[in-house]
């Protein structure tokens, strides 16, 4: 590269995404602006239509908002397919996600106006409630996407989870050797700490990162007691075990936090995606009901 190229680069004559830009700020909030415009248009439409019998989905404004909302739902669902179409020559996925998030939020306003605030114990309101849940779970996903990635990196400090587990295993080996030099009871406590410590565990444990009765924590308390060493020679041995347990506990906490962060980044999808399909079914029922049975 020469000086000339540098000037080119400084002038920003680049074609490819060459800087880190979050989906939230993508293209200077292009999709946020579009979503705002869509919401404003929906509100205007809603306000402009003043039918005699009160506002509901069956008026011309209601129909318009309903059709837009339904198409939007189908298009938003399409994201799941688009995300996995790797050869598509169109825009980057980050643009799609940006649009998915902001237009998804706009959907809440459009669909709510479509209802005309008529709710009841019927399939129509079920579809609406499901949609709200999908949007809420998606919003929670955005929250997780913003909150956890940085924490995850800070927690990892250059170790991958696999490396953390490897180090925990090597602490276990050391502990195993150390256990040979102590009496039966403390040896049993160490054995438990090696064998019964859970790293991942149940969904609840993974999400909360809370492991009551953790065998390593129990062992740490046990070896933290002042009166445990029977002799001076043993005191050194006990100190070493305590140190190993402390280091293992620190690493264990990091590994569990890592798993918990990863779980938070993924768990919302387990709500968002199935509810989306439930919404599609309810939406279909709603449309069929409206068209044929009204």
């Amino acid at each position: 590269m020469s000086l000339g190229d540098r000037a080119d680069a400084a002038a920003g004559s680049v074609t490819r995404a060459d800087r880190h830009e979050s989906f939230l700020v993508y293209a200077r909030f292009r999709f946020l602006k579009i979503a705002m415009a869509a919401m404003a248009a929906a509100v205007l439409l809603y306000a402009a239509d003043k039918p005699d019998g009160g506002r509901f989905g069956g008026t011309w404004a209601g129909w318009t908002l309903g059709i837009v909302a339904a198409l939007l739902i189908v298009w938003l669902t399409w994201f799941g397919y688009r995300k996995r179409s790797y050869r598509k020559p169109e825009a980057n996925l980050v643009a799609w996600l940006s649009a998915h998030v902001y237009l998804g939020l706009a959907l809440l306003v459009i669909a709510t106006l479509h209802t005309g605030f008529y709710f009841g114990w019927n399939i129509h309101t079920l579809a609406y409630v499901l949609m709200c849940l999908v949007i809420a779970s998606g919003a929670f996903g955005v929250f997780c996407y913003v909150r956890y990635p940085r924490r995850m990196t800070e927690n990892r400090r250059e170790l991958t989870l696999r490396q953390m587990l490897g180090r925990i295993a090597s602490f276990d080996e050391e502990l195993h050797k150390a256990a040979l030099g102590v009496a039966d009871q403390p040896a049993a406590v160490i054995r438990d700490a090696i064998e019964k410590t859970v790293v991942g565990g149940s969904l609840r444990q993974q999400l909360l990162g809370h492991y009551p009765g953790c065998a390593t924590a129990v062992a740490l308390t046990y070896f933290g007691r002042a009166d445990i060493a029977a002799s001076v020679a043993q005191a050194a041995e006990i100190r070493k075990i305590r140190m190993l347990l402390e280091e293992k506990a620190l690493l264990l906490a990091r590994a569990r936090r890592d798993i918990s962060f990863k779980a938070m980044l993924e768990v919302w999808l387990y709500i968002h995606v199935p509810l989306t399909f439930a919404l599609l079914a309810a939406l279909l029922a709603h449309i069929v009901a409206v068209l044929y049975l009204w």
Partner: protein, 795 residues
């Protein structure tokens, strides 16, 4: 006068055996004399099972010996049978110590046995290996000393000393270290003579403790079971079961000169005619001694030389290939004319006709009309051009295409980008009807490395070229003479200082290969603040402003720069106001740009981190901002889905600083390590810079071993799987991404090939990993963009 035989062939390598078999088939009295106890000594010394390629593929084989791509063992066996079937008159374990003209014509060959043998003609096919150098210390004759290593597997659990820090010594030490305790005995402290990849490997092995390293050592005595060395702080005794000395070979030049052949320099190949006859009538030279490095043409030469001796005027086997190139471009004249024209080019004048033929087989001829673009600024270089006829013009200023620096017949161009490994810096157009010779990258890289005259020819024009391109296109040679005289090519190892902050020297450096970092003091420690790749210059500020150096400049990787003496350059500036104006203008621009230099502590540490990760020899790096990355691995899935089911990137692996992560993925190096030793020449660089592996990969694994970044893997491709909708709707298959479960890996039954990132060069919309990132965390960036990337990163 009768001779013992009509043709005496000395040396039973590929060329020699081929000649012997031809002579036997033609029923000519002959003898094939070989120093070692077997045929094919050079190939014999290849590592076991080494895959030997039958290149160039386009060259027809005309030897009586069969030759196809095969293993070392098959090759040796085939040719032994071939020689035996033809009843070649073979004398193994016989050294020819002298060749003299016979009194009544012909030659007298003095043999190591003391006998003399007479022959009407002699074919020298002894290769260039020469005689291995032997240790000349007391005890060197002991049986624990050996000078070559046929099979490293033969030795287990021994303590072995390897003497010699060249490629042979390093390769032996590395191979032996798997099963033995190996000590490398080095006269210096590092490995300057070795190929960079080998030097890296041995340094890594030493660092890991796999190989002991004795530096600054001189062998004084060898005793049974012990090597006595002089080292820095006295004498040391190294216990060893075996000593392997790889201390080079004496070139055969002295022997050749004793035969009456004149050599232009000790490293030059002897001159031979079209019929392989040397300056001594009746004495023929073929094979690698005649400058032919590849097996297949050597075999052809063996056949041809016998036919020539018998008076049969065959055309060389490559003649039709070269003729076809002439015909294609409608160039009138014969191959001989072309050979002569190429030999007149300053770049190639030191080469023999055989070497030029070899170049021409791979080279391309181009006819260009006035106005036609020859090379385009911004593309990656895969070749160097020479002007056979006509004239071309280089556009020194991209915004003023009319302004041209003209080059005429005999000139060459395109070498700057080849040396830097980066994009072409200037567009070149034909300005008259021109005939151009384009020599491919691999050939050029080899020639620049091995032929000092070619290097000198390139160096000779370098200074003028840089000055004209950067500053003043109108400068003529007379104006530049003093500056050119003051200039020197300087090499820097990674971390070496070109310029020290506060110093009062005022040289200018043109970076022609590698890259440098600009650093300053920060928190009491030197940190990198900017990065400047090859094809740029540094150091003019101190010269123009007559101030001390404002920053430290260090080589980021192995770097080659041309240093121009400050005093000489100042004199030139005083004499040529045009030049001064341009240099000052450029400096102003630069100072403007320099404001983009990073100033925040976190930013400075990030660029420092990236440079220390070795990304400075990259041309394009995948960078992940972990504050945005949601670890969905869609990048890896996209990679696998667009590349036959095998992901070429590992998102999680690789170093991280703060939230900046460099995943394990190809960086498309300026000088790709993977290209260095690819037997089928399957690794190429596309015009946009993508380094990719073509379909003719043979799966030898050299590139995987040579890549210091671990981004190449040997993989068999998985069978095709159900489409995305079949998975989404009916749950068929495992979904997108590479399936690395044991069962899926077992289902990959095909042969393994090298796979790596090709930056999705065949996908119009760009790298799939970046496009598939939903959160904007993944980007690909060139090192010179890093500063912008970091500055714009969210903090």
């Amino acid at each position: 006068m009768t001779f013992d035989c009509r043709i005496a062939i000395v040396g039973a390598g590929p060329a020699g055996i081929s000649a012997g078999v031809r002579a036997a088939r033609r029923g000519v009295s002959h003898v094939l004399i070989e120093r070692s106890p077997h045929l094919n000594d050079t190939i014999f010394k290849f590592q076991k099972k080494k895959h030997v390629m039958a290149t160039p593929e386009i060259l027809p084989l005309r030897s009586d010996l069969a030759f196809a791509e095969s293993s070392r063992e098959e090759l040796i066996a085939n040719w032994e049978t071939g020689a035996a079937d033809a009843t070649v008159n073979l004398r193994l374990e016989t050294e020819v110590t002298a060749i003299a003209r016979g009194e009544a014509g012909g030659f007298a060959l003095r043999l190591g046995t003391g006998d003399t043998l007479t022959a009407e003609t002699v074919v020298l096919a002894i290769g260039v290996q020469g005689n291995l150098n032997k240790l000349k210390v007391p005890g060197a004759e002991l049986p624990l000393v050996q000078y070559q290593l046929d099979d490293p597997e033969e030795y287990q659990g021994e303590e072995i000393a390897v003497i010699g820090a060249g490629d042979a010594g390093i390769e032996n030490a590395l191979a032996l270290a798997a099963n033995n305790v190996v000590t490398m005995v080095n006269t210096g402290s590092d490995f300057p003579r070795a190929k960079p990849a080998n030097a890296d490997l041995i340094e890594a092995a030493i660092k890991r403790g796999d190989i002991q390293h004795v530096t600054d050592a001189k062998v004084t005595t060898i005793e049974p079971g012990c090597l006595v060395l002089d080292v820095k702080d006295g004498q040391t005794r190294l216990k060893c079961d075996r000593i392997i000395a790889r201390i080079g070979a004496a070139p055969p030049s002295r022997f050749i000169e004793s035969c009456g052949i004149h050599l232009s320099s000790p490293t030059a190949y002897p001159e031979v005619s079209d019929t392989y006859e040397s300056q001594v009538p009746g004495l023929y030279i073929i094979g690698s001694l005649a400058g032919c490095r590849v097996i297949k043409p050597c075999l052809n030469q063996g056949y041809e030389v016998v036919e020539y001796i018998l008076g049969n005027r065959l055309l060389p086997a490559d003649e039709p290939l070269i003729q076809a190139k002439l015909d294609e471009t409608k160039v009138p004249g014969s191959v001989a004319d072309l050979l002569a024209a190429v030999r007149r080019l300053p770049l190639f004048q030191s080469l023999t006709p055989l070497e030029i033929r070899e170049i021409l087989i791979h080279a391309q001829l181009h006819r260009k009309s006035p106005g036609e673009v020859v090379i385009r600024r911004g593309e990656y270089a895969n070749s160097v051009f020479s002007i056979l006829e006509g004239e071309v013009g280089m556009q020194p200023k991209p915004d003023k295409p009319k302004e041209l620096i003209r080059m005429a017949a005999g000139d060459f161009f395109g070498e700057l980008a080849l040396l830097s490994g980066r994009r072409r810096t200037r567009t070149i157009v034909a300005t008259a009807p021109s005939l151009l010779l384009e020599v491919d990258r691999n050939t050029m890289v080899r020639l620049v490395r091995s032929v000092p005259e070619i290097r000198q020819a390139i160096d000779a024009v370098a200074v003028g070229r840089y000055l004209r391109v950067f500053f003043a296109p109108g400068l003529d040679d007379a104006q530049l003479a003093d500056v050119v005289r003051s200039a020197a090519v300087v090499e820097f190892k990674p971390g070496d200082m070109l310029i020290e902050e506060g110093a009062r020297d005022d040289s200018i450096y043109f970076i022609r290969r590698g890259s440098v970092t600009i650093s300053g003091r920060f928190d009491g420690r030197e940190v990198v603040r900017d990065y400047i790749p090859a094809g740029n210059y540094v150091g003019e500020m101190a010269l123009l402003m007559q101030t001390p150096r404002s920053a430290t400049v260090r080589a980021a990787v192995a770097t080659e720069a041309i240093r121009i003496d400050g005093a000489a350059f100042r004199m030139l500036l005083d004499r040529t106001p045009e030049l001064r104006r341009q240099v000052e203008k450029n400096l102003q621009e630069r100072l403007g740009l320099r404001q983009r230099l990073l100033s925040g502590a976190a930013e400075i540490r990030k660029i420092d981190f990236l440079v220390r990760q070795g990304v400075s020899e990259a041309t394009d790096v995948l960078l992940i901002d972990e504050s945005l990355c949601v670890r969905c691995d869609n990048c890896e899935k996209a990679c696998a889905e667009t590349h036959q089911g095998v992901s070429r990137l590992n998102r999680e692996a690789g170093p991280t600083y703060a939230t900046l992560h460099v995943p394990t993925s190809c960086r498309h190096c300026e000088h790709p390590y993977c290209m260095q030793d690819c037997p089928p020449d399957a690794i190429h660089r596309a015009p946009d810079g993508e380094v990719y592996i073509a379909d003719n990969c043979i799966g030898c694994g050299n590139c995987e071993r040579n890549c210091p970044y671990g981004v190449i893997q040997m993989a068999a491709l998985p069978p095709a799987k159900p489409g995305i909708l079949a998975w989404l709707l009916w749950g068929q298959g495992n979904g997108p991404g590479e399936d690395r479960s044991p069962a899926a890996l077992a289902a990959r039954t095909g042969a393994k090939h090298a796979v790596k990132c090709d930056m999705c060069k065949d996908i119009a919309s760009g790298p799939a990993c970046v496009r598939a990132c939903p959160t904007g965390a993944a980007i690909r960036a060139a090192p010179e963009k890093f500063i912008d990337v970091i500055r714009e990163a969210r903090e």
